[in-house]
């Protein structure tokens, strides 16, 4: 009897091996394609079993082994592993919660750039072009502080709520919920409404949007967008404001220790020098740090009759 085994049929480990199918196409011949074992062989070509295709590591150095999720976008691999997020196995964010992630790829209707939106229940991330940001924008929790400004035009009682925005070009792609309204309305008499809002800490925010009530109103309407990279004009006299247009740029750095601004880098450098005081760079308490030299200095002053 001729027995022919053609390994291209069904793998079946649930049936008794002798009960697997066979055919007898000619007297004295038995043929079967049934498989009771098929390890690492692909069966996608009739009449043959072929060693399956291989595999290879893409990263030479291991990343965090707790790999929860992989999302591919534009050929880049975004990997959520352990407490980190990797792009092509390079870490772009750490300090996250190690938990099961999931994600989608999408973009808002007015945004032409697709992002990955991912969450693990604790962290909520938007990944775009290899950068990690929050998924959505947290609403400001503090109300604006209001006062009367130097302009004219408003009379009545006004209040403000504000939001944080992310704009792409001139398009508002995402906006937070609004802040609470101020506790008290500002009362104006042919004045402008001025105020201060809490600056955003989320780096994806590009603008703060001011919503203002109408006179005695409780509904808030869009007033203006303030870019966070620009600044209001500084001037010494109110009339100067009438001659200023366009965006203002801040060219000094805050010096909170002295309630002033530094216009030059050497100013900040000078103040950071060891032995300088904490109140500016006009002297220093070197006599405290080097008493021996101080004694010599006093002796010198006495020798020239300059010691009072």
């Amino acid at each position: 009897v001729s027995v022919i085994f053609n390994p291209s049929g069904q793998l079946n480990v649930a049936t008794d091996p002798s009960d697997l199918p066979e055919t007898s196409n000619a007297p004295g011949s038995i043929t079967s394609t049934a498989l009771r074992r098929c390890r690492n062989l692909r069966l996608n070509q009739d009449g043959q079993a072929i060693t399956r295709d291989g595999s290879a590591k893409l990263n030479a150095t291991a990343i965090d082994p707790d790999i929860w999720w992989i999302e591919e976008q534009g050929g880049d691999r975004y990997v959520f592993a352990g407490e980190k997020i990797y792009v092509n196995e390079s870490s772009i964010e750490s300090g996250l919660t190690s938990a099961q992630w999931s994600s989608i790829k999408y973009n808002a209707f007015n945004d032409t750039t697709e992002s990955i939106f991912a969450t693990n229940g604790t962290d909520r991330k938007r990944l775009t072009d290899g950068a990690s940001n929050e998924w959505g924008i947290e609403a400001p929790t503090e109300a604006a502080s209001l006062t009367s400004g130097q302009g004219i035009g408003l009379t009545g009682r006004y209040n403000v709520r504000y939001t944080y925005l992310r704009k792409v070009g001139e398009t508002t792609v995402a906006e937070s919920n609004p802040s609470p309204a101020a506790d008290y309305y500002a009362t104006l008499s042919n004045q402008s409404l001025a105020g201060t809002v809490v600056s955003p800490t989320d780096p994806q925010v590009t603008h703060v949007r001011i919503y203002r009530s109408g006179n005695n109103g409780i509904i808030y309407y869009r007033d203006q967008d303030i870019p966070i990279n620009f600044y209001a004009y500084g001037y010494c006299h109110a009339f100067e404001a009438g001659y200023l247009t366009g965006n203002a740029y801040k060219f000094t750095s805050d010096d909170s220790a002295h309630s002033s601004d530094n216009a030059y880098t050497w100013e900040a450098t000078a103040e950071s020098q060891t032995g300088q005081d904490t109140g500016g760079y006009g002297g220093g308490e070197w006599y405290l740090t080097d008493p021996l030299l101080y004694q010599e200095w006093l002796a010198y002053l006495a020798s020239i009759g300059q010691l009072p």
């Binding site: 027995v3 022919i4 085994f5 390994p7 793998l11 079946n12 091996p17 002798s18 066979e22 079967s32 049934a34 009771r36 074992r37 098929c38 062989l41 692909r42 069966l43 043959q48 079993a49 072929i50 060693t51 399956r52 295709d53 595999s55 290879a56 590591k57 082994p65 707790d66 790999i67 992989i70 591919e72 050929g75 999931s102 989608i104 999408y106 209707f109 909520r124 929050e134 400004g149 302009g151 035009g153 006004y158 709520r161 792609v173 919920n177 201060t196 809002v197 919503y211 808030y220 309407y221 869009r222 007033d223 203006q224 966070i228 990279n229 620009f230 209001a232 010494c236 203002a248 801040k250």
Partner: protein, 350 residues
Amino acid sequence: VTTFTQPMGDFESTLPDAGLGPEVEIDHDRVPLGVSFVFGPTYDGTVFATKDNLLYYSKPKQPEYFPSLFYIEVSTPQFPLMTGLIHGGQVYCLSKRDIFYIQGTGDGTFLPFKRDCRTGAQTVLGAITIPGKGICHTGPDGIYMFNASSDMKISEQSLEPLFRGDDVEDMAAVDTMADSWLWNYKNLLYFGYRSSGQDAPGNILVLNLDTGKVAYYVYNDGADVQIRTITTDDTNSRLLIGDNTGYIRVIESPSYTDDSGVAIPFDVKSKDFLLSTRSHFPRHVWYDVEATNAESVTGELYLDGEVHQTHTITGSRVIRRRLVDTGNGSRAAVRIYGSGPAAIFVTEFE
């Protein structure tokens, strides 16, 4: 001249009431904390997020806005939602026990309907849509295929012992479904499961969705590769996995004939052939194997479950009559195994 700056937080408004713009929107909530799975978008741009037994959804085409009241209760608290998917343009959510069809097209119209099913999904990757066939999902005892009219256990007929905890024919039994996964790539359905002693699924069943043929894969580059997650790299048309040692790997790649430099071991075995009225008295075996590039190929003839004759196979489909020692048995089978690239065609004995 004294210069000073005002921080951007300062503003000044002089617009008359009539000059103000649109009303502030108060439904720009972020996706909730505690979300266990996100999926979508649907055809209208709605993104979905499962949290406990609730299904949250975004404003259409605005994935960063999840209004706080945009959710429906789908399952019961005892059976939180494990995963969700879009099948045939419709939204489905799965708990470990049930499948829910989410009817509706937007806020205010979404309504969950529990479908007649035998089980749900055991993990976030425990269900996947198979276009034209249904929703393939994992139960505690196997793999199921749900469509509108039935929920069939597709692993029952040929793979049942594995899900009952029995190692069969060098295939490791399923130890737990808790971290198993399903994935669809091309016309193949991949099911990864963890066997005893493994930290993550190291065994893969591969089902050809067109022919119904199943194969069993194990990746090994010195140690079994245990796969925590899997995805498709659509840009480069390849299948990616993340293993439990911190490596991202491309698998099922025609560019590679080994597993990171380690030859791929293979093994195939026939049924037990029986003759109606007498025993087998095999004298010769012919092997038709393409073994040119293989590291090794061995053929074995089994009689009554024991190896009766072993042959080394080499070359490109060199079909020779190979002698068999004298012996007989009522059950005869053929096994071919080895490592490296090979193609096994036909084996004949008489």
